[in-house]
């Protein structure tokens, strides 16, 4: 069972390495969107500090949308997805493997560069640390929920826009708790509750999303 999971993860990581440009474009999108705000607003450190959590988190949401539309698309077109549906293992393992690979490749880099970008907003070291942690816990939720949308919109024309309309509303809780945790660290409020709610949404998504994605994939391939 685990060998199957390993095959999927190794395969997707290899593919991502061979198509580095795709991965880097998501990361650069994130870096540029976040950097535009301080440039547009000017050196008002008080204002920058207060908008930073929201800006970084919204940019992370949009960047993850960009990469999500590709999770199943390529495999769908060359017939690999059909074969994945016919594997003698539970389909949710395949989904979980693909989501893990997508998260490692597209989302973890966002969490890693976010603290660097946070410096532009005059955030303190503790806040930068919380920003990193909140993104690290929150982005898997984005990948998991997003995979449902990616599976539902497979093979549709203009699927990229549709996926955003379907999935962005579901990202709202993650945005609120994630940005909330960073906000709380700026005004030295209660970080713990936000982080715990974020972790709870992660666990909830981990249980239900692969299952929903599997069902959506079966429907999309009929």
């Amino acid at each position: 069972m685990l060998t199957m999971f390993r095959w999927i993860v190794v395969r997707d990581l290899t593919l991502a390495w061979r198509r580095r440009a795709d991965v880097l474009s998501t990361l650069f999108f994130f870096v540029i969107v976040v950097s535009l705000f301080p440039l547009g607003i000017g050196p008002e450190s008080q204002l920058l500090r207060s908008i930073a959590p929201g800006v970084v988190w919204v940019a992370a949401l949009l960047a993850s949308m960009l990469s999500l539309s590709r999770v199943f698309e390529n495999d769908y077109h060359d017939g690999t997805l059909e074969q994945m549906l016919l594997t003698p293992q539970p389909l949710f393992l395949v989904v979980l493997g693909k989501v893990l690979a997508q998260w490692l490749v597209s989302e973890v880099p966002l969490a890693v560069v976010a603290p660097l970008l946070g410096v532009q907003f005059d955030l303190g070291p503790r806040t930068l640390w919380i920003l990193f942690i909140s993104l690290l816990i929150g982005t898997p939720v984005l990948s998991l929920i997003g995979s449902i949308g990616a599976a539902l919109t497979l093979g549709l024309r203009g699927g990229g826009v549709l996926i955003a309309v379907l999935i962005l509303p579901l990202y709202v809780p993650v945005l609120i708790f994630g940005a909330g945790a960073v906000d709380a660290s700026i005004i030295s409020g209660n970080i713990q509750s936000n982080i715990m709610l974020l972790t709870a949404s992660f666990l909830l998504a981990l249980v239900f999303a692969p299952w929903a994605t599997s069902a959506a994939l079966r429907i999309s391939l009929e």
Partner: protein, 186 residues
């Protein structure tokens, strides 16, 4: 149809384009739900069997499931891995050589010709241990040598007790009498 496959073990699906060969194969492997009736495997509906059924079936569609960015060797090992067959590097090289792909193991699949891609996709059959093969247009874009090779692979599969449903619009030259032609009309 259920009866005939038990008796003769191989069916060649023939029919014009659009007559439903692919749809029938997709129904048989469980990718598509039939509008009426159900597909049973050893008496049980394949819907209720789930993954258990997939351990007995190999489906090769007309889309090759070959990743352009991966090398032949990687493609071959991964496709087998997905089907639950672990191949060592040496075994994978050997099966590729048998399919006439010796020397191109480390080439990215995007450099292969259409015929070679087809050979790569079909090399899964050599290491497959499933009982039922569902093959969709396997002989298209193959040269004569490859057609002979695939035909002999299918024959060997039948001799070891396997079953096959092959959709084709070409002549399938299996040993006479070992298969039944099922003509689909639209």
């Amino acid at each position: 149809m259920a009866n005939s496959i038990k008796r003769i073990r191989t069916i060649a699906l023939v029919g014009q384009a659009g007559s439903g060969k692919t749809s029938l194969l997709r129904i048989l492997c469980g990718l598509l739900a039939p509008a009426r009736g159900e597909v049973r495997w050893q008496g049980a509906s394949i819907r209720s069997l789930g993954e258990e059924y997939f351990t007995a079936v190999t489906y090769i569609g007309h889309r090759s499931a070959v990743k352009e960015e991966l090398t032949c060797l990687e493609n071959h090992r991964i496709n087998n891995g997905l089907a639950g067959v672990e191949l060592t590097k040496e075994q994978a090289v050997a099966t590729l050589a048998e399919m006439g792909l010796a020397g191109s193991e480390n080439l990215p699949a995007r450099l292969l010709s259409e015929g070679q891609r087809r050979r790569l996709a079909l090399s899964r059959l050599l290491s497959s241990s499933t009982r039922l093969w569902l093959l969709d247009e396997v002989l298209t874009s193959l040269d004569r040598a490859a057609v002979t090779l695939i035909t002999s692979v299918i024959e060997a599969h039948l001799q070891s007790g396997g079953m096959a449903v092959v959709a084709t619009h070409q002549e399938l030259n299996l040993a006479a009498g070992s298969f039944e032609r099922l003509q689909l009309t639209s």
